[in-house]
């Protein structure tokens, strides 16, 4: 695997256009996160233009947070374009364990070969069909309980699967990595998980999915660590987090990444 910082440098050099179909809560912060990191985000969802726009994008980020049927249809239409064009796309199955509707939509989206599936342990367990104690967007399960399911899901779908938590687990079903970067305040800011997907999507452009995903998680977690210095709560943390995404250099990421083979 190349130095983790390499992926950040490569992404910033091209500022890839990342098409986002995400939830209403995440719209603004996801765009700000992507801009701070150095990508070029855009949010487009209408069936009248989603296919045309997806054709312009280097990567796609799909998040089912505030789902409804029209948005689900747009997600499928855009994912089909990415799959047909051989371009990467990321699926975030927010709260998939909570309702049958989410499970049906995720089943259809998984058939469109996402490059990366990222969720918390409860969401990955639910996707893998092993039942789920999750409720809303917060995980009720520790990361370790989802590692076997993540491998199964990766092998079944062909996706890299990332399980977010205090220590993230990332696998393509064959190899696994643990990423220890991160900060306890991150779950106290809404939609930082959703926003991470935009960064992963940007990192995937013209890269191998597994190491690019690992690098994105390390960079993101490291920005959280830096932001926590001096933050006095989730408000000041969020501000410092955007600054850290912007100011961290590739060298900082290589030096600060805490990545191990699982």
């Amino acid at each position: 695997m190349k130095d983790t910082g390499t992926y950040l440098a490569a992404m910033r050099a091209t500022a890839p256009l990342v098409h986002n179909i995400t939830n209403y809560v995440a719209m603004n912060i996801a765009a700000n996160v992507a801009l701070a990191a150095g990508a070029s985000p855009a949010m487009v969802h209408a069936r009248e233009e989603v296919v045309e726009f997806a054709g312009l994008a280097q990567a796609l980020c799909v998040n089912i947070g505030t789902l409804d049927p029209a948005w689900a249809e747009a997600m499928e239409m855009a994912a089909q374009v990415m799959a047909a064009n051989g371009r990467p796309w990321v699926l975030d199955p927010v709260g998939v364990g909570a309702t049958r509707f989410r499970q049906d939509v995720c089943a259809r989206l998984m058939s469109l070969r996402p490059t990366v599936i990222r969720g918390n342990a409860s969401e990955i367990l639910a996707l893998a069909g092993l039942g789920c104690a999750g409720r809303g967007a917060d995980s009720a399960d520790p990361v370790a309980t989802a590692e076997a399911s993540a491998c199964d899901l990766a092998l079944r779908t062909g996706a890299v699967v990332a399980v977010s938590g205090p220590v993230d687990y990332v696998t393509d079903g064959t190899q696994g990595f643990r990423v220890a970067n991160g900060e306890a305040l991150m779950p106290r800011v809404t939609a930082l998980g959703c926003s991470l997907n935009s960064v992963i999507a940007a990192f995937l452009v013209n890269q191998t999915a597994l190491p690019a995903t690992v690098a994105a998680l390390a960079y993101y977690g490291l920005a959280g660590e830096r932001a926590a210095q001096g933050a006095t709560g989730p408000g000041s943390f969020q501000v410092a987090f955007l600054d850290a995404l912007y100011t961290l250099s590739p060298q900082d990421v290589t030096a600060g990444a805490r990545v191990n083979r699982a």
Copy 2:
């Protein structure tokens, strides 16, 4: 009435799942406010899942800010679940005086027995059928002009009615309280009123509605007071406000609450 801080401690101990059907402006800040306070917010609105999701939630928060008919239907469906399950829900009649559509939707929602109705004076006057000078989300009427209407509305609907302003007024139609906590910069940050509803909803879980609402207002206003120390405008105020919601202890709330019987 128990110490106001008791309600904050009880809420944080269970981190209740609060189902929000709110407006696009408030989505992100309402989730961040609820997370900072210690609740677990989720935003779900599609008719395909709103009933199922409402069944998982401990409380519901409904806000008509950027209304349309599909969202109004989702609000009614979710409110029916809460009423059927004996769980609390909060109605925020944003800008109800502005259009006939809002008045019709609020009339239907009020028939579903909200636990708390919270608005500014113009909105409470409009709801009570006394005419309204309000425009948009800003009140054109002082709190005192709405006290009699708040009592009438409380008696007619069975809800606790809270009138927000420099000094809030809260009543169940029989008893009334005034809450003097708050800060002049709060109306300069959008959707802080909408976000308050999530906090009220979280405080209501397993508590008596009137004192829980009073406690939520005192806590929220106190966070505003603390945030104003050192803030140089609405940007820094919003950041410090989230930090204050997070760092205020139950003891701080009990000590700082400025609550009086009306």
Copy 3:
């Protein structure tokens, strides 16, 4: 032209109600920007109430960022009200070059006589029918390449046309101005362009469109300059920007405006 600060003072004196039909990314920050500046923003889009609400508003701000057909219809309905009432409205043709759908919607909106059209160079070139290298919300063209197109567009539509960039260009087709205020970090915060439209709309109330637009751009750019002092990235910049919009006085604006005839 009157002192630029005069327009800020006049706007704050009346706090005009600005009706916004904007994109999901911009909803919150646009409202916060308008409140910090001293206007009274509201977001309303349902066809059931958009005409009634537009009738209450002093100005309208339309942005096609996360467009769909129902929202496009609401935009047309509201713009018709403003045109019929002789009240100002602003059109932001976000990403108009990207899809045919956006071009069709903008063509219809332009026929409703916007008071001001504001976009980046790529968007103004696309609107003027000269082709466009733009993608998403970011401009691929420098401001100077769009000046002739801006004049043509102004003459053809009767609108004041503003081209945003490091130095903005504003014209009514006869006279032109350049506004040099601004800051390099501004494009790193999402939706600051969209949010500017709300400020322009508020400045237009009861003023001549060309100088009022120039004054709004100078004020906005000056707030960016002030915010950059001490900012360490886009997170702290956004916070300081809202504070600067709030704290800048009319005298500050007059003293700091860098406006020249083109």
